[in-house]
Assembly symmetry: C2
Homo-oligomer: 538 residues x 2
Amino acid sequence: MDNGAPTPAAPNGDAPPVMTRAMTEGILFTDQYQLTMAQLYFREGLADRPALFEHYFRANPNYGSHQAGFCVNAGMAWLLDWMEAARATRADIEVLRSHRSPSGQQVFGDDFLAWLSEHGSFDQVSIRAVPEGRVVHPNVPLAVVEGPLGMVQILETSLLAHCNHQTLIATKAGRVAEAARGRPVLEFGMRRGPERGANAATRAALIGGAIATSNVGVGHFVGVPPAGTHAHALVQAFMALGLGELGAFRAYAATYPDACLLLVDTIDTLGSGVPNAIRVFEELRAQGHRPVGIRLDSGDLAYLAVQASLLLDQAGFDEVGIVLSSSLDEITIFQILAQIDQEAGRYGIDPARLVSRLSFGVGSKMSTSDGKPYLDGVYKLVSIHDGAQWVPAIKISDNPFKLQTPGDKDVHRLYDRRGLATADVVSIAGHPLPTDPLVLRHPFDPALRRSLRPGDVSEVEPLLTDVLVEGRRAAEPATMAELRERRERDLARLDPGVRRLVNPHTYHVSITDELLSLRQDLVDATRTDVTDTEAVQP
Amino acid sequence: MDNGAPTPAAPNGDAPPVMTRAMTEGILFTDQYQLTMAQLYFREGLADRPALFEHYFRANPNYGSHQAGFCVNAGMAWLLDWMEAARATRADIEVLRSHRSPSGQQVFGDDFLAWLSEHGSFDQVSIRAVPEGRVVHPNVPLAVVEGPLGMVQILETSLLAHCNHQTLIATKAGRVAEAARGRPVLEFGMRRGPERGANAATRAALIGGAIATSNVGVGHFVGVPPAGTHAHALVQAFMALGLGELGAFRAYAATYPDACLLLVDTIDTLGSGVPNAIRVFEELRAQGHRPVGIRLDSGDLAYLAVQASLLLDQAGFDEVGIVLSSSLDEITIFQILAQIDQEAGRYGIDPARLVSRLSFGVGSKMSTSDGKPYLDGVYKLVSIHDGAQWVPAIKISDNPFKLQTPGDKDVHRLYDRRGLATADVVSIAGHPLPTDPLVLRHPFDPALRRSLRPGDVSEVEPLLTDVLVEGRRAAEPATMAELRERRERDLARLDPGVRRLVNPHTYHVSITDELLSLRQDLVDATRTDVTDTEAVQP
């Protein structure tokens, strides 16, 4: 086994091909059926036929006791990195050539492998997408992918793995940030995250709402220097060596006199940790340093925050921060702040001032989207070129909510007179939106309609932009600051009912009458085909 | 941004250091506080002090309506790959050197960076661990890590990210396989998995219970050739081109005459998909080929399986398989099979025969451990060398279930007279287990005890084995077949009450009287320290 070694050369003679761990993250990072379909397309002369696929999700995450009213779009930049690097190498081809069916035949023929060897890159692929960081909604194309059928089919798995995952985590982080009332959220989730996928989760959390991360590599990579202080192990080691919690805190203060944030729950938070921290803070103050804060990592965090605040205030450290951590998510933070609102006054503490000194370290539950650990994003063929023209494609389903809307599309976000987003409208690409009235149809229940007059709409904003044009990036990657500004701007223009953590309003996603007709015609034609097929059935 | 490029040389002069994506997966794949602690240890002369950490988890996953009664251990082999490759490069060091505090100081001093540059590898680290594939239980050390304090501290994050994640997914896959009553489970989860972490999920699912995967790269890497047929896109493309579902099926049969498995729900499962599949199967049969099966991917899978089975039987295809997929997990599979047991007879179908032709394609919910997407595994300092001898370390907590058991330990699994596993016993390392009687104490409630006489125990099996000795692997990596055999052997020796999917029995994990005394003495001594500290508090 191997990890990160360069791609080996193709094997000589009959030596079995070498499959390295690094190769599992290249062009072979895909589902087998993408390759079996690609071979079929190749054999049928369709592999280079232009095709259009869409990525969208069907429903906002439902975490059980609470639900998302929107998502935060993320993942495209890292997908583009992957697409740039992923191409069929000789080693990849030899591994595929070695794959035998139970009867001993090559699963992939030399003819197809020669094609893949030559065409096995994403250099011919173009993508239009909703920019990362934007607030997005179900049943709206987040990305429209155009390219040769064979390669855009092979792309499906990696696109979904990149974009579903980061959108899921950015959404969860956005919720945690909302619950935190603007106080800092620090992402701590690597240790229980999904192995290397924890890196993507960190990036997504930073886009979605975390202001910093403990993840050293990704923090530096995305330009947000990582944050971190110490763990229980430091105190344990000093205790075992006979130097005690106080000794550990003093050593920490000596090493980081201007960044002294102490974890106070290794033995007894109020009986030992906070008093020892205060003692070290006094020593620091005497030396002219300003202590940063304490971290509470177990117990009743609302109660302990109030009590620790009292002790710190009494010692004259009313500007020292309090970091809360321990299995936090949006609902526990919501509950902690509600409890502080109700109880702090009883101890003579102003709840608003206490909240203003808090930060939140959020780990496992944010980085794995606890309650709903996957986004149901799909990637569907919506159009294919028949040699003469583009023809729309559809998938019908017994479940009306899985009915797919065919063809190449535009997406516009409509803002109402207050300047708040009121609907996302999906329409046939290149066709102007009707204006007086603009009739919005529910995508799955056409009887539900809404008419907008020109005076009702303050702005019509197209959402899809070019991100990749025939394999070349259309723009420099956005900085993390830009991604976060996009999210904040969108949140400020979202109805509070859609933003709330529990039972949010449903944001309107609509299709135009024209797109509805196209879909209905296609469903009718398909159903007719089925009847014909049945008629000839023996 | 960059993806997978080789590590660049250190920057010249004042150029900012280059941080690549590949570097996020090396030694910098850690939490910032591991590095701030390592610097502190270095400054205090402790960085090279031998230390012992343990990895264990506190509770089996609780998925809400159902709960795991045990876990399947996984992840160590890929952690070892990572440890072998990860070492502080010049580029890593320069990135760390560039990190400035808000006041403009270097966060990491040149003295510490020189140490890290020289010692920043895992060449001095040794690990004893429970072998991958074994059934494991809460509060039992899965891995015991020994090495220089600074480096085993830095290791924490990556060890947890590797081993928590794979153990979580292997456990979920084991449950899915149990629910499937021995019928094949195919892992399909990449598309909604955690980006590159989906690869680790695939490996873990194969260890835990899946017999095959759609993941091309990992399938080949672990020696389980990937499986896959076609998606809706194939049928959609043929329909859009005027060739229809039947055309798509015929093309598939022409390309894969001996591996023809058709997805039948793109339009109408029973009205179109199954009849068209049967027609193509008849054509294949006429040519001397044997069709493989159909896949049902939406709707009421139990009902559709019965109806499809009827149609296939009527056409003489009673040996053709039926693959079920669509948001499956252990509970949905359990329900589908229960419904088939109850309803198949009504249609003249033998339920056992129908079940014997089923396979299950399981994706998102298995690959993300839906219901509980993280394992609460921790990595705790249990002992440190004080220069003269090893001294045990402890973390006390207000929550008795988070109390940690100190010191270096052995773990033995006891089998009862029936040959079934009856308890895992944690004891002080190197101390023989008492035999007559062997008193087992509940780890958190010492009043709960159980006494075993020699005749009660048919076998005493040590669970920890050397996997890494001072940076060198103690053995060749196990093959996937070996890992699966370990799991199957352990499952066969597990009480059915512990194995069941809902409300399982609690398997006994115990500590010896001697270990209990050591812990109590340490708790008492620590509490005394606390009192002393308070006494001198101003």
